[in-house]
Amino acid sequence: MPKKLTTILVPVISVILGLLVGAIVMLVSGYDPVEGYLALWEGIFGDVYTLGGTVRQITPYVLAGLAVAFAFRTGLFNIGVEGQLIMGWLAAAYVGYAFDLPAIIHLPLAILAAAVAGALWAFIPGLLKAKLQVHEVIVTIMMNYIALHVSNAIIKSLTDGGEKTPAIHESASLRSAFLDNLTEYSRMHYGFVIALIMVVIMWFILERTKRGFELKAVGFNQNASEYAGMNVNKNIILAMVISGAFAGLAGAMEALGTFGNVSVIGGFTGIGFDGIAVALLGANAPLGVLLGATLFGSLKFGALNMPNVGIPVEIVSIIIALVIFFVASGYIIRVFLERMSKKKEAK
């Protein structure tokens, strides 16, 4: 079988398989799969409102996915994207409401604050990994919990026991009346521009700079990199910091775009963890992450429309998980197809 055909066939088959199994789940639980998938489609592409919502949902996924992917390329598993995102969210919201500045300074400052907060939060596991060989997975997971509760405590102390910060000033907002009118208040905001720029930046760092080459080299083989005269420790810390900055920006999307403030939360947002899946779907490449996030975000947002035809959220979650599961396990189908064609050739 020609290689090109396999490349096209694999994802097609995996999505069809995912949808089929999802349809079976719906049938077994007594819902109409055609109606369900129709609602999913409408929920993603139905009109300008849902399109706007889809883009909004994709935006933080892109950045969270970039964060995970960047660390991966350097051989680090950053599970702390969630925590870095929360810190970025908090920082952006704080700068957004506490300062009174013209938009041209305010907005970039709030975004920068988010990136710095995320970077700082990732710096700690980076440092521990580089200096003391503490495994970053453990540290980043724990930093997630610390971030969650530190953020909640800071919000409370900032607002005298309140549960949310005041709304950010207009000058720090990524939203615009233009987009609101265009997409019928879908909450779509200019964050998608930032996400796209970051995709390019990540590509540029990794593929076009000496530093990026070093980072990748460390990811491939730390010992070889060290013998080649690279500073492995410095690169590990740098990779975590850049990864954290991406995650912080994802938080800025929530603070300056979707919500316009930050509130006390009881549990994780889940965006950071979904970012791991997005990065893996996108094979840790910038463009791949963008596509992975598009698939993930579209499914997640479109799924919100499925309860509108009477399918409970729990079933919807299972179906979406199934589709993503099959897309992610495309490798199995690839192997299967290759075996099939080999058998044919043998005959």
Partner: protein, 354 residues
């Protein structure tokens, strides 16, 4: 390497394309029946993170909506009554907008967490009426529903203080917010009214959707000798019930009680046919409030921009049937307090004295 990556990237695009393409062809069929539905007065609600079967707050609101639907011969779905469940805080706006787009006349946001979203969507969609439960939104098309939780909780405090043998009583709260503070304050006050020496061990778990947190907190309390726990923690409180039931299953003589919240949680406390750990429940009749507002809205008297407060005097708060767990003389005492509160003779504070 690059080629492979490109191939993968391409495949994801195609994957997305196929997925969407597969559903595209049947696009036209659904639009027709939306318009053919006759024009009724229709109501809907959006849950907060607890979900529709949280056995308390959201469920109670949904029961009210279902009741209203039945009374007015409405059907579930467009033009009748409906709910949408939220899984994360970013879903609130989306769900509210979905319901607006499906032309519901009155949409309830259940829980203070939805304040911002209701405020935002209400200003964008001035033609639809909204109502926020447990929150305050100042807008001409929003009716805010509040409860005097402290009044119901006071009675629960009286019950707890009369039943306890160890003189140790627990309170498990959700997030530390005014609504839960009112439950807390009323409960402490009620306990104090019976026996000022009892200390209430109060813990805020910080979440309304984490049963495991409720369970560990209850475990800690019961182990320390507490024998009655009042929970005001939504689905987190289900863990309190689980812990109490486990203790009762292990040792039938264990003296553990739970006081439920929001709805009658008697069923939650069922250990077996004979035993039940639910002492009583502080019922916040969200269902009554929901029906009241819906009825007013239907008669074109929607209390937009107003803040409605429901308490003991208008049956907005009440204690559930104890099924014999509370003796008659204690019941008499409780009724006496209830009357004094309803008449305004006792003022129950909204905040815990520190």
């Amino acid at each position: 390497m690059t080629k492979r990556k490109f191939g993968l990237a391409l495949s994801v695009v195609l994957a997305a394309g196929t997925l969407l393409g597969a559903c595209g062809s049947k696009d036209d069929s659904s639009k027709g029946d939306k318009e053919s539905k006759e024009k009724n007065f229709s109501i809907a609600m959006v849950t907060d993170l607890g979900g529709i079967d949280d056995k308390s707050f959201n469920q109670s609101a949904w029961e009210g909506i279902q009741k209203f639907g039945k009374d007015n011969a409405l059907e579930k779905g467009n033009g009748g009554y409906e709910y949408l469940a939220s899984k994360s805080s970013s879903d609130y706006n989306v769900n509210l907008n979905s319901l607006v787009r499906r032309d519901f006349n009155l949409i309830f946001g259940v829980g203070y967490l939805m304040e911002d979203s209701i405020k935002e969507v209400a200003s964008q969609k001035p033609k639809t009426n909204f109502s926020i439960i447990d929150g305050k939104v100042d807008a001409p098309n929003v009716a805010s529903i509040l409860f005097k939780e402290q009044e119901g909780a006071f009675l629960a405090g009286v019950a707890a203080a009369s039943v306890t043998k160890s003189n140790k009583i627990g309170f498990v709260g959700g997030i530390d917010i005014p609504v839960i503070n009112r439950f807390h304050a009323g409960f402490v006050e009620g306990v104090k009214a019976v026996n000022p020496d009892i200390k209430v061990d109060a813990v805020y778990t910080g979440a309304f959707d984490k049963a495991e947190l409720g369970k560990t907190t209850a475990n800690r309390m019961y182990t320390s000798g507490v024998d009655v726990i009042f929970h005001a923690a939504g689905a987190t409180g289900n863990g309190v019930f689980t812990e109490a039931k486990e203790r009762k299953t292990k040792d039938a003589n264990a003296n553990v009680w739970v006081i439920g919240v929001d709805a009658d949680q008697y069923k939650e406390g069922q250990v077996n046919d004979k035993t039940n750990v639910t002492l009583t429940s502080v019922m916040k009749r969200v269902d009554i409030a929901v029906q009241d507002v819906a009825k007013k809205a239907k008669e074109d008297k929607f209390p937009g921009g107003e803040i409605l407060t429901y308490g003991l005097s208008d049956n907005g708060m009440a204690l559930a049937d104890s099924h014999g767990a509370i003796t008659d003389d204690v019941m008499k005492k409780i009724d006496d307090y209830a009357k004094q509160i309803a008449d305004g003779k006792i003022k129950v504070p909204e905040k815990v004295e520190k």
